[in-house]
């Protein structure tokens, strides 16, 4: 148990948070290595199916990061996404599919490398506190 | 014997058949020699190709029972399993389950003239049939053999080397055609299969026609065969259906009372006339 490290999928918007990850990298900022990045064209590309699929496959946490509202490359993508995220997070916690602390959202622009690195740390710590995901992981179908 | 359990096979070779790279021929070799002995098949039958982790697909057997030591399947890339198969390489392990279905009616075909009409990638079990019939042991059992085979372009024809060899033989009359070509070296026919069939007008006397191809080709060729004098009970076709078990258990491939996997896939036109048009 002691050597368990949280595994986190990070869906990063190509136009901002992904750039922020790059900036954090070239700025030699340190952050925990627990995230696996999936680049998406916009935070509104996130379909609830993606997040459920990630948890089903056994990740301990999911983090979605996009542009600040008002700064969307496609003008309004993240404004639509906000409503989806609000409902998605409350519904996932309401139905007990995930515990609080496993699903994170943030807005980080491509200029905010330091904030990116800091946020990774916060997400990792939060997921670490939630512990290894156990309940919504499909290991093998429970069938005869 | 569990009829759902595939025989393990190794992919011996993979050949890209067509210029669009969507058709590949896989030569498979049984890992256990005794399995090959159990896999006794006839031209016109099919098998379920099994890929662990992806699933199974029904594919017509393209090799002939006269060819020993391997099985050949030509597979079009359409769905999840076929795409996965196209990504596989020689040496990899997969599975084969079968043989399945009836076959072309070889007991009825003996002593007859045979007209084979094929289009596009539906030429696989027809290849099996041709190789079977022109085998020196079998050739005397059949009369005249005519083959009309068409594809969109020369690059879309399957088994090009073999077609060229068969063209040179005197005991089989090849009528290869393409819908269109600007290849100056193309020395065969140009035109759709129904047209070429009418031009070559194979004699219906004492003859059976075996026809496999896209629905549109079949639709326009059947009237030509009628004109030439082929009665419905001497026109034979092979159907395709979504299948899961291949042995008549899973229930999805029926046309009326008939399961295409077990009672077919080969039906005469006369048989199909008595069934719902649900294929």
């Amino acid at each position: 148990m002691s050597d368990w490290e949280p595994k986190i999928i990070a869906f990063l918007c190509n136009w901002c948070s992904y750039g922020a990850a790059d900036l954090a990298g070239v700025s030699r900022l340190q952050y925990p290595p627990n995230i696996r990045v999936i680049r998406v064209p916009c935070s509104s590309r996130i379909n609830p199916k993606f997040i459920l699929a990630a948890f089903r496959h056994g990740v301990d946490g999911v983090w979605v990061s996009g542009c600040h509202p008002g700064d969307c490359h496609y003008l309004e993508g993240n404004l639509y996404a906000r409503r989806k995220f609000a409902l998605l997070k409350s519904q996932l916690e309401y139905t007990g599919i995930i515990e609080p602390g496993r699903l994170h959202f943030s807005w980080i622009s491509s200029a905010e490398g330091a904030r990116f690195a800091e946020k990774v740390g916060q997400v990792v710590e939060s997921v670490r506190a939630a512990g290894p995901a156990k309940h919504f992981v499909k290991k093998q179908a429970e069938v005869p | 014997m569990n009829p759902f359990l595939p025989y393990p096979v190794r992919i011996d070779s993979v050949i890209t058949e067509t210029e669009d790279r969507n058709l590949k021929t896989f030569t498979l070799v049984f890992i256990n020699a005794e399995d090959e002995k159990k896999f006794v098949y006839v031209a016109g039958q099919f098998a379920m190709l099994s890929i662990a982790g992806l699933g199974e697909i029904p594919i017509g057997i393209a090799s002939s029972p006269t060819e020993k030591g391997f099985l050949k399947f030509t597979v079009n890339k359409v769905g999840k399993v076929t795409t996965g198969l196209h990504d596989m390489k020689a040496g990899e392990i997969m599975g084969v389950r079968g043989p399945m279905g009836n076959s072309y009616p070889w007991d009825l075909l003996e002593g007859r003239n045979v007209v084979i009409i094929g289009g596009g990638f539906a030429f696989t079990t027809l290849r099996s049939s041709i190789v079977y019939m022109i085998d020196p042991q079998n050739r005397p059992k059949f009369g005249r053999i005519d083959v009309v085979y068409g594809a969109r372009t020369p690059g879309m024809l399957l088994y090009k080397d073999e077609l060229a060899q068969w063209e040179k033989r005197s005991d089989i009359n090849m009528h290869i055609t393409v819908d269109d070509t600007n290849d100056p070296d193309w020395k065969y026919n140009v035109g759709f299969v129904p047209t070429v069939t009418r031009q070559k007008a194979p004699d219906a006397e004492n003859a059976y026609a075996i026809i496999c191809g896209p629905p549109i080709m079949i639709k326009f060729t059947l009237p030509v065969l009628s004109e030439l004098g082929f009665p419905p009970d001497r026109i034979v076709s092979s159907l395709e259906m979504c299948m899961k078990c291949g042995i008549g258990f899973c229930g999805r491939c029926n046309i009326g009372t008939q399961y295409v996997c077990r009672d077919g896939p080969v039906f005469t036109l006369a048989q199909l006339a008595g069934l719902p048009v649900e294929y």
Binding site: R83, Y94, G96, S106, H135 | -
Partner: protein
């Protein structure tokens, strides 16, 4: 005979004879207690088969998408709201529709009655005003129908159709009720309890998709459960698969569900699937002040935004 039955038949015959529509979608008398069958009357003669009573719960908006003809449809409050959603989502054109609005007095819940009778086989049921008479081998009871309304009807705030061409009765009184008492109870459970609660809830699921298909708002050409590349949800009855199915099914209904109760009524194993959709309904009402299918000129909430929308999903 229910007073609406006569009016529906009269209106149906009239619109058919006037050639205003090609058919009338309503209900015909069912073959088992508490069931009527959705029915398309194509002639005045067939219109005489149309009936109305407390067993017309199936949401008839389900039969409208992709129609090319002109149809009349009997619509309760919830049906009419689902029709509004269809119009907003371009599933049918308003010109094709002739809505026979029915102020609804609620639908009977056969499961509640079965519980009251301890599973005794009910052979027949009769409605006389507010009275419900049920009988079977060696028993006959009379109940007040109001006690046996479907749960969604008991907390319904839109009994009267919101859209119609003709209203077939006097509007009924609307009620103000607390629709979310049970939802709040679940919200207040600790995470583990919530998980166990919903695991238990969907455990009997046999993946027959009756809930999905009974829903008028379900009309995707390819449902997410049928997608293969990639396959988002397994087809087994493993808890992870059934929970994924129910979660995503409900989520697709966010802002579009009118709480008609068809899903719950259709479920052959009695899963209370509205516990998923009602939470979404509550959130949407609280966050965006939106109620599905009530206003014709506002996009559903997930197709819209306001600059000042709250961001409760952000950390801290």
């Amino acid at each position: 005979m229910h007073s609406y039955t006569e009016r529906i038949r009269e209106a149906a015959k009239r619109v058919l004879l006037e050639k205003r529509v090609d058919g009338v979608i309503g209900f015909r008398k069912g073959t088992v207690p508490f069931m009527n069958e959705p029915f398309l009357a194509l002639s005045p003669q067939q219109a005489d088969l149309l009936v109305w009573d407390g067993n017309c719960a199936m949401n008839l908006a389900n039969y409208l998408p992709k129609r090319t003809d002109r149809v009349a449809v009997t619509a309760k409050g919830c049906d009419s709201r689902s029709i509004v959603i269809h119009l907003l989502e371009n599933q049918i054109r308003r010109e094709q529709l002739y809505v026979l609005g029915i102020p609804c007095q609620g639908m009977t819940d056969k499961r509640k009655l079965a519980d009251r009778l301890n599973g005794k086989g009910i052979l027949g049921v009769e409605e006389r005003g507010d009275e419900l008479r049920v009988y079977g081998r060696g028993f006959e009871y009379s109940f007040e129908r109001g006690e046996f309304l479907q749960e969604n009807c008991a907390v319904c705030e839109h009994k009267n159709p919101v859209l119609y061409d003709e209203l077939l009765g006097e509007p009924v009184a609307e009620q103000q009720v607390d629709r979310y008492e049970e939802i709040r109870k679940i919200e207040s459970m600790p995470p583990d309890r919530k998980r166990l609660f919903f695991e238990d809830l969907v455990r009997p699921c046999i993946r027959c998709y009756a809930c999905r298909n009974a829903c008028p708002a379900c009309f995707c050409p390819t449902c997410f459960v049928d997608e293969k590349k990639p396959q988002w949800v397994g087809k087994t009855i493993d808890p992870t698969d059934t929970r994924t199915f129910h979660f995503l099914r409900a989520f697709h209904m966010a802002g579009r569900c009118t709480d008609c109760g068809s899903c719950e009524r259709a479920c052959p194993v009695g899963i209370r699937v509205r516990l998923f959709t009602r939470k979404l309904e509550k959130e949407i009402k609280e966050l965006y002040g939106y109620e599905a299918g009530v206003i014709l000129d506002e996009r559903p909430p997930l197709e819209a935004f306001r600059p000042e929308d709250p961001e409760p999903f952000l950390d801290g």
